[in-house]
């Protein structure tokens, strides 16, 4: 018997903070298909990276599949959203000037109304609804890829609310969604002609005689060839691309994309040596619209484009550090696959998520700092936080708003990216996703998890909270404190805790300082025997709350 609280025996408290170069290198055969163990650790790793959280039900489901089957299934598109953004704003005496009633959709209403207040309310409604789509649990990477492409074609719906209609943003989301697992070249064209983007980056006012280069620049600098060392497009290329794009605008009456041939610059556009001195032949009349295909063909011939996209995918789904080894063994061959598959996105993702490198648990695991969206959505999904009945729009929107608000406070909101280059965490070297976490947002994250595991978060009488008994109760043997902690940690933490650390947590939290496991077992059994008894329930739930609070307060919890 120990003579003191199970405390720190065997646990080193010295934590040398060092930021030396990472010693380990990925395997040279990085993209070769993984053939090793396929168990909880690998599945949770895959699910946390491809979905918003690893639910126990999904883990169990994929245990009955092979790794290849699992990846293939995750890469299948999810069904299209079954709902539309609704009027959630006719409250407090406000009436929709277009006549849309509360909890009815506004998407086909009043696009011609010049009403900034209404538009902003609808944009808020759309953003909340989008959050709801991301939250929607399905075994598909689809919504996470929408977020990826959203970050890639970054927009901020708070800009130009007098011009850019909420409906345009809704369509913009659908465009991202339609192509998210499809063909990148098609997506690039669709976004180029997307009314929201035409307004957002001024393509709509890019006309012959007074071109606006905004979109033409970002198309190259951010969306396609990027600004890596091997991307050598010139300022003249920006100007030439802008001329190609003149005339593509939004119809002033029916508010759809259209090509205004009269505003198109019909001259030939000459590009630099980087683009092989390509000349995009200019056309007058409707034929001028086709120049955009020539422009994209030219850009998509650049090897650097495929590398640029593959680097972004790698940073988003594996780790931000791309050294020479990663560049040679992962990025370059992945870019070849991208190109050889005619810019289809799925083969790239499939190769990556089936690779030895992805399942290298030492190198690739537990090294992404969760984004705010990951942080809040993962928690909701992994703890199976009970959501309102989808038919109850008022309750559903209240909960979506709560979650949206939390992520916003942590500095991430769908539809509101502060920079056209995307969220800082995905591009700002050298810190990358470390930028999500500072002493302010870390505190905010801790408050969020603390509240969720205690009293929950309430808005409009709708409370979301963690039911710790329900979470623990889904495991095979919750009465065994060691197994319960192992099973809980397998879902909640990708960073492994040492045996002594787990023992410490068990004794301090589940055993309240006692030394024998059966005290927890008895407490759990007493609760199961009489779940209606408030005190036996409180004994169990208070300890589980403390356990999950503790786990979520660990810095490790921020890693996935």
């Amino acid at each position: 018997m120990n003579e003191s609280l199970p405390t720190q025996a065997g646990i080193s408290k010295k934590n040398k903070v060092s930021n030396v170069a990472i010693g380990l290198t990925p395997p040279a055969d990085g993209l070769q298909e993984y053939t090793g163990a396929w168990d909880t650790a690998q599945i949770v790793h895959l699910l946390k990276r491809t979905l918003f959280g690893a639910k126990r039900g999904d883990i169990q489901y994929f245990k009955t599949r092979t790794m290849q089957q699992a990846v293939n299934e995750l890469l299948q598109p999810a069904s299209v959203p079954s709902t539309y953004p609704l009027n959630n704003y006719s409250v407090g005496g406000y009436t929709d000037p277009g006549g849309v009633a509360l909890w009815q959709t506004w998407i086909n209403n009043g696009i011609t109304l010049a009403d900034r207040e209404l538009n902003e309310k609808r944009i808020d409604s759309f953003k909340t609804w989008w959050l709801g789509q991301a939250l929607n649990p399905s075994r598909s990477i689809h919504e996470k890829m929408v977020v990826f492409w959203h970050n890639h074609f970054a927009i901020d719906t708070s800009v130009g609310t007098d011009v850019i209609k909420a409906r345009f943003w809704y369509d913009h989301y659908l465009t991202l969604r339609q192509h998210a697992l499809g063909n990148f070249k098609s997506m690039a064209k669709a976004i180029t002609l997307d009314p929201a983007m035409l307004f957002f980056l001024n393509g709509a006012s890019n006309v012959k005689g007074s071109p606006n280069e905004n979109f033409a620049r970002e198309l190259q600098e951010l969306y396609t060839v990027g600004k890596g060392p091997d991307s050598k497009y010139t300022e003249d290329d920006v100007k030439a691309a802008a001329l190609v794009l003149t005339g593509h605008t939004v119809h002033p009456v029916n508010f759809t994309y259209f090509f205004d041939a009269g505003k198109h610059d019909a001259t030939n556009k000459e590009f630099s040596a980087f683009y092989g001195n390509t000349i995009v032949t200019g056309y007058t009349g409707p034929a001028g619209a086709s120049e955009i295909d020539a422009l994209l063909d030219m850009i998509f011939l650049q090897e650097e484009l495929t590398k640029h996209i593959c680097r972004k995918i790698y940073r988003h789904f594996i780790y931000y550090k791309i050294d020479n080894d990663i560049e040679q063994t992962i990025i370059t061959p992945l870019a070849v696959i991208f190109r050889n598959n005619n810019y289809n996105i799925q083969p790239v993702l499939a190769t990556l998520f089936k690779s030895k490198h992805f399942y290298d648990m030492v190198y690739s695991s537990a090294c992404i700092i969760k984004s705010p969206l990951d942080f809040v959505l993962d928690l909701c999904n992994e703890f199976n936080v009970v959501m309102p009945d989808g038919n109850d729009s008022e309750a559903t929107y209240a909960v979506w708003e709560s979650i949206q608000n939390e992520a916003r406070e942590m500095q991430q909101e769908l539809g509101a990216i502060p920079e056209v280059a995307g969220w800082y965490a995905y591009y700002q070297a050298p810190a990358f996703h470390e930028l999500w976490v500072n002493s302010s947002t870390y505190t905010r994250r801790t408050i969020f998890t603390d509240r969720m595991v205690a009293d929950g978060i309430t808005k409009n009488n709708q409370t979301i909270l963690i039911d710790p008994i329900s979470f623990a109760g889904q495991f095979a043997n919750p009465g065994d404190p060691t197994l319960l902690i192992n099973d809980s940690l397998a879902i909640l933490l990708r960073y492994p805790l040492s045996v002594s650390a787990k023992e410490f947590i068990k004794r301090s939290l589940l055993l309240s300082g006692q030394l024998q496991d059966y005290y927890w077992t008895n407490a759990w059994d007493a609760y199961k025997a009489n779940p209606a008894d408030a005190i036996t329930k409180a004994i169990v739930s208070s300890r589980l709350q403390a356990l999950y609070k503790y786990i979520m307060n660990l810095p490790e919890y921020h890693l996935c």
């Binding site: 018997m1 120990n2 003579e3 003191s4 609280l5 199970p6 405390t7 646990i11 080193s12 408290k13 010295k14 934590n15 040398k16 903070v17 060092s18 930021n19 990472i22 010693g23 780790y319 550090k321 030492v362 190198y363 537990a366 090294c367 700092i369 470390e434 976490v437 500072n438 002493s439 870390y442 801790t446 603390d450 205690a454 990708r494 960073y495 805790l497 040492s498 002594s500 650390a501 410490f504 004794r507 939290l509 309240s512 300082g513 006692q514 030394l515 005290y519 407490a523 005190i535 409180a538 004994i539 208070s542 403390a546 503790y550 307060n553 660990l554 810095p555 490790e556 921020h558 890693l559």
Partner: protein
């Protein structure tokens, strides 16, 4: 300090209302004076020592008066009568032989014990009984807050909003260990922080500082740990307090309780205003092997008691060495005591009431209550019957140590409980006496009465020192000193030539000390 005693015990008290009428409270800044007016309490500290598992009371305080009965019901674990540690002025009871340190504290009037503390309808579950003790609930009642949390919430109702602040720059409560106890749950969450005995934060930085490997995840975890550390707004004040104490008394080695208490002593002496500390150790669940067969002086319980006693004794001596012993009251408790009879495994099973120890300069020496009666027909399941409700101990601490008005004590404990005569009646105005004793020498004037001018001599302990003169209407006449001084005695001259005759008050403020000196100006 308490406002009432401040007013009562200073002859100048009568003039304070008028002074306050003429001055904004702010002018006094963060002074003890202000605190006395705003109701913030004294500088008393409570150290809760939790002995997890259920300490065997009958082998902790041995009922010498019933020794043969005691020996009869627990022959395999009984402490030999001639080895029981005797206590001054008390022939009825003695201490376990491992409690030499506590015996000495008792004899030096720094320790008292309360017999058979518990609650009606004792619950034999560790978890439930511990929750009851920590929350202060009835046996059949579920409370979601801890008694200390409710007290802290009563004193600092806005916490954590606006904290830390000038009045309370430090954590309200600190738990030495990794996991916050429910005792600190207030209606708004935990009112305490957890730190380990080497004064690292536990609850916000990783308790389990497994070293990070040189991998991507190791790099990111290191980053997160750094941020988590920065996040704690109290990290700096704790570090600063700890740094102030460079020398401490000796503590026993390999004694986790001692390591925890050493950290507490350091923080108290370092000047933290933290009200409550909690430390703890486990292992008291001595169903078997409580003693070694054939030698009841050895075994687990003996080792545990020795750790506790050695640690508390070293802590007490260290507090004295550090000059803060008057500020500290300690209390030991367990979730329950153990059965009166021993079992066949050289141990004891879960019981009910237990002895509670209080220690510190302000406790009343003694053993409150009587030794448990041991019936002739004692059964294996018989428990020590309760004599004192555990919440009476809390209510006494709140009223007589934290100097909380009785009505507020009832609010915190949700009911009225009997008060116990275990803390010296001077504890709640000890500060005032101290201040006055010091104050008598702090500031004088000569001549007094005076005609035109008088020399005011004041003794500062260093740092910012303020000497002001007020008239009886509370109007400030002049400021004679208002700067940092090195420790020593200084004189300033108060020239009253332009003033009417009558009483004037010289008020000195130096750190938390202050005094007001009446001076009489007469016609020449």
């Amino acid at each position: 300090m308490q406002r009432r005693s401040f007013l009562k015990q200073t002859i100048q008290g009568t003039i304070l209302p008028s002074i306050m009428g003429g001055l904004s409270v702010k002018a006094f800044g963060n002074s003890a004076f202000l605190q006395s007016l705003t109701g913030a309490d004294n500088d008393h500290v409570l150290v809760l020592i939790q002995l997890a598992g259920g300490n065997d009371g009958l082998n902790t305080i041995i009922p010498l008066e019933f020794y043969s009965d005691y020996n009869r019901i627990r022959p395999n674990i009984a402490i030999p009568e001639n080895r029981v540690l005797p206590l001054n002025n008390n022939l009825k009871s003695g201490l376990h032989p491992a409690l030499t340190g506590m015996q000495q504290m008792y004899n030096e009037e720094k320790l008292c014990a309360i017999q058979a503390v518990g609650y009606p309808s004792a619950n034999g579950s560790h978890f439930r009984s511990m929750d009851i003790w920590l929350t202060g609930s009835d046996a059949e009642q579920y409370l979601s807050t801890g008694w200390a949390g409710r007290y802290l919430n009563h004193q600092y109702p806005n916490y954590p909003v606006g904290f830390p602040n000038d009045t309370m720059p430090d954590p309200l409560a600190l738990q030495i260990g990794s996991v916050l106890s429910p005792v600190f749950l207030s209606p708004t969450g935990f009112d305490a922080l957890a730190i380990d005995e080497s004064l690292n934060f536990y609850n916000l930085i990783d308790a389990i500082q497994d070293p990070t490997p040189n991998t991507p995840s190791g790099v990111e975890l290191t980053y997160l740990r750094t941020i988590a550390k920065q996040t704690n707004k109290y990290a700096e004040v704790i570090k600063a307090a700890a740094a102030k104490v460079t020398q401490q008394g000796a503590y026993p080695a390999d004694n986790y309780m001692a390591a925890q208490l050493k950290a507490v002593a350091k923080l108290v002496a370092g000047g933290l205003k933290t009200k409550i500390y909690m430390v703890g150790m486990g292992g008291f669940d001595t169903h078997a092997g409580q003693v070694n067969g054939g030698n009841t002086l050895t075994g687990n319980h003996s080792g545990l008691l020795k750790q506790v006693s050695d640690a508390i004794s070293a802590f007490t001596q260290d507090l004295k060495f550090l000059g803060v012993s008057k500020r500290v009251l300690g209390m030991t408790f367990s979730e329950f005591g153990r059965r009166m009879q021993s079992n066949g495994s050289l141990g004891t099973d879960h019981g009910a009431a237990q002895p509670v120890f209080l220690f510190g300069d302000s406790v009343k020496q003694g053993i409150l209550g009587k030794n448990p009666d041991i019936p002739a027909n004692n059964q294996a399941g018989d428990n020590v019957p309760m004599q004192y409700d555990f919440r009476s101990v809390y209510s006494t601490i709140l009223r007589d140590w934290f100097c909380l008005p009785a009505k507020d004590v009832d609010t915190v404990l949700l009911k009225n409980y009997q008060y116990l005569p275990v803390i010296q009646s001077t504890a709640c105005n000890m500060d005032i006496q101290e201040l006055n004793n010091l104050g008598n020498n702090l500031i004088i004037n000569y001549p007094n009465p005076f005609v035109t001018s008088t020399t005011i001599t004041f003794k500062t302990s260093g740092g910012h020192t303020l000497v002001q003169v007020f008239d009886t209407a509370g109007k400030r006449i002049t400021t004679l000193a208002d700067k940092n001084y090195t420790k020593g005695t200084y004189s300033v001259t108060f020239n009253s030539s332009a003033l009417a005759s009558g009483v004037y008050y010289a008020r000195m403020q130096n750190g938390s000390l202050q005094q007001v000196r009446p001076m009489l100006k007469v016609k020449g």
